[in-house]
């Protein structure tokens, strides 16, 4: 476990720190703009915090490729599988942190919003929580896929893999859209009605979404370890 924490710390320093203070000033500006939008605009904008996860993972992947971290992993007293697992763990933890922070910031904003404009707090918070959980599940699955593509195919081919995957998703969405249009499949509005309305039902849905996302992340992690760990460095 200690090595997982050491590697996550290693990755965080790589992604977040720099020898100067310029990025810190930029981060402060972005954070201020984000908070103004959330508190003066729409509470739901709080889920934009998930972009922070991408801003953490993208520079990490870029640095790992640019500075050939594979060689460094060969020097450090850790196994390659631990390095890969720690990276996926970092993604999951950072997404969980984003989810929690987005919900808390959104909830405070929602309270202020309702104070100003009136409305049903329970409905607003419930809707915010649903969006936060769905966003968590989507982002964790998407980032796990990107991370796996990065390890397995390298940065040079990663974009090609993602373009093909995106094209595949668009094709599937078009087919589903067409089937909904001709009423072979139920529409989104009808699907929305299938979502549970009771608090217990919603909590169960959130738990299932978290489990599915964690399962996808674990599956991508296991696949990456199987493909990459036996490779030479």
């Amino acid at each position: 476990m200690k090595n997982y924490l050491n590697l996550m710390r290693f990755d965080l320093i790589t992604a977040v720190c720099s020898a100067g203070n310029r990025p810190a000033a930029a981060a402060l500006l972005i954070a201020a703009a984000y908070l103004i939008l959330v508190f003066l605009g729409v509470p739901l904008i709080s889920i934009a915090l998930y972009i922070g996860g991408i801003l953490l993972i993208a520079p990490l992947q870029s640095a790992a490729e640019k500075y050939n971290f594979n060689k460094l992993y060969g020097i450090l007293p850790v196994q390659m599988r631990t390095v890969i697992q720690a990276r996926f763990l970092l993604i999951a933890v950072s997404m969980l942190f984003c989810e929690l922070a987005a919900f808390l910031i959104g909830a405070v904003s929602e309270m202020l919003h309702i104070y100003r404009f009136e409305g049903d707090f329970a409905v607003g918070i419930g809707s915010l929580l649903t969006y936060c959980v769905m966003m968590f599940a989507f982002m964790l699955a998407a980032l796990s896929f990107v991370e796996a593509a990065h390890w397995i195919y390298g940065q040079a081919n990663e974009m090609k893999v993602m373009i093909y995957t995106f094209a595949g998703i668009v094709a599937v969405a078009l087919i589903f859209g067409l089937l909904m249009h001709v009423h072979i499949l139920p529409s989104f509005a009808q699907l929305g009605k299938l979502l549970p309305e009771s608090a217990g039902g919603k909590l169960a849905l959130y738990a299932v979404l978290h489990l599915i996302a964690a399962g996808i992340c674990a599956a991508f992690c296991a696949g990456t370890v199987r493909k990459v760990a036996p490779r030479e460095l």
Binding site: A19, A63, N68, V78, Q79
Partner: protein
């Protein structure tokens, strides 16, 4: 004498290159120069020692531990310096220390910072702005800070100016002074080996041509010069790498055949560069005769 590193019959094949039965050992408290031309297999051997290359057969023991099954325990006690940094170059020395420190149980922050000061490295600048010599010193500081017992350096002096090379060699000589530490450094700059190495392993075409002390190498080969007509056929077959000139020839000979050399021929001591050149000539000649036979 305890061997800190032992390699026995190491084989590793790639489609276009192979290490063949590489065997050598490095006793504790000494520096071994690992020499050979580019592509001779030095880096592949080092990558095998570090379990970065998966070996086909053979055994590598470091501190008496197996290089594959005990690689994590070995790397706690190993310092490695490659020809490039392989660290995030946008970070400062202090930030890099924060990254690496938790991995090593024996890390000593005081030692790290005192070495950084001794080597004259700025602690707050991005390490990407460092010269190659400064980057080498940073990696050596890392190795010294977790009290690595064995330091492995892959071509550390290539691309360094003479002053930086001299400093680096002084650091290595100081490192082994307590007779508890050892150094394996690969290079094709043989002057560095002549200066600091106690042991030498010579690699050519993936095979070990010589391994032993520097003194043994000094007395193992001589250069043989003279008129071609004075060279007996039986002796010519024992020569390593033959070069004929208009007025004579030059070749290298194992000193065990010195008593067969006629008085009319001249012998001279061979340095490491010359030994490497004649080994390459001999290998080239063998390849040609093999292809002729086919």
């Amino acid at each position: 004498m305890e061997n800190i590193l032992e390699i026995k019959k190491l084989n590793k094949a790639y489609p276009d290159f192979a290490l063949k039965d590489v065997s050598f050992s490095l006793p504790r408290g000494f520096i071994m120069g690992f020499v050979g031309e580019n592509g001779s297999g030095k880096t592949t051997t080092i990558r095998s020692i570090l379990d970065m290359a998966k070996i086909d057969s053979g055994k590598i023991s470091i501190f008496g531990l197996d290089s594959v099954s005990d690689s994590v325990a070995i790397k706690q006690r190993l310092g490695v310096v490659f020809d490039s940094l392989y660290l995030a170059e946008h970070l400062s020395v202090t930030q890099i220390e924060k990254q690496l420190m938790p991995f090593y149980s024996a890390w000593d922050t005081k030692v790290f910072h005192s070495r950084i000061r001794q080597f004259g490295l700025p602690e707050d600048k991005a390490v990407g702005t460092f010269s190659k010599g400064m980057k080498m010193k940073l990696m050596i500081a890392v190795a010294l800070s977790h009290d690595a017992e064995l330091m492995i350096l892959d071509e550390p002096t290539s691309g360094l100016d003479p002053v930086a090379r001299d400093e680096l060699l002084d650091i290595l000589a100081e490192y082994i002074e307590d007779e508890k530490h050892s150094v394996l450094f690969s290079t094709h700059i043989t002057a560095d080996v002549e200066r600091v190495a106690d042991y030498i392993t010579m690699l050519h075409g993936g095979k070990v041509w010589f391994t032993g002390t520097k003194d043994e190498l000094d007395s193992k080969y001589v250069l043989l010069k003279g008129a071609e007509a004075d060279l007996p056929d039986a002796l010519r077959k024992k020569c390593i790498g033959f070069h004929a000139y208009r007025n004579g020839f030059e070749t290298m000979l194992d000193t065990q055949y010195l008593d067969e050399v006629p008085d009319s021929l001249v012998t001279e001591k061979a340095n490491i560069d010359e030994i490497l050149v004649y080994i390459a000539k001999e290998a080239h000649r063998e390849e040609l005769s093999e292809s002729d036979a086919v």
